[in-house]
Amino acid sequence: MDKSTIICRCEEISLEEIVEVIANGARTFDDIKRLTRCGMGPCQSKICNCLVAGVIHEQTGMEFHQIPLPRMRMPISPIKLETLATNSTTFSSVKSVLDEVELEDGKVK
């Protein structure tokens, strides 16, 4: 692998870009995702997840069990908005970003 090797096929994020954000303190897939868009394309990190974990391991020496999984939100695979919207009123709500942070008095802890 050289530094221009693509790690995230969808968003075309190179090894160099990922190494750079790790050098700046990124330690998890989601850190890297927020800084580079890695894993935000149509496959939603299904392909680059293991590659990114490998890069984190190589760059930081962290063991694989110390590198958490990326978030996996609904929808699990691509779906037409037209399809997703069917029967929308009969469904309970989905887990939202707000469910993912701990709130205290309506503010993020």
């Binding site: 096929r9 075309e12 149509p42 496959c43 695979s77 691509p78």
Partner: protein
């Protein structure tokens, strides 16, 4: 290339179907996915990447990588590895993002 005589499964390819890629006709068989049928006809590039405009094609065949996206019968971003061929299907490569911000789309 289609495998007419499979070493284990025998002669499975019987019913031919015509599909169109960039308006040109190609022969496919009913058991095949769109991506596979195109590959049998020597077509591997199914689209271009969004940033660097690099060629993309089939990668995982399991509907996960989305690398085989193409436009089928007017619908953009269809996973061609998960779509079976149908007679007369019109397929175009996924070369640019669809226009969603135009006036016609209410922007």
């Amino acid at each position: 290339m289609h495998i007419k005589h499979h070493p284990v499964l025998g002669e499975q390819l019987q019913k031919t179907i015509t599909i169109y890629f960039n308006d040109l006709p190609y022969t496919a068989y009913e058991q095949q996915t769109v991506a596979a049928a195109l590959m049998a006809n020597g077509i591997k590039r199914l689209g271009s990447s969004r940033n660097l405009v690099q060629p993309r094609g089939l990668f995982c065949t399991k509907g996960r990588c989305c690398s085989c996206y193409a436009t089928i019968n007017g619908e953009d971003h269809v996973r061609t590895c998960q779509t079976m061929v149908e007679d007369g299907m019109k397929i175009y490569p996924n070369d640019e993002d669809p226009e969603v911000r135009g006036e016609c789309c209410g922007d």
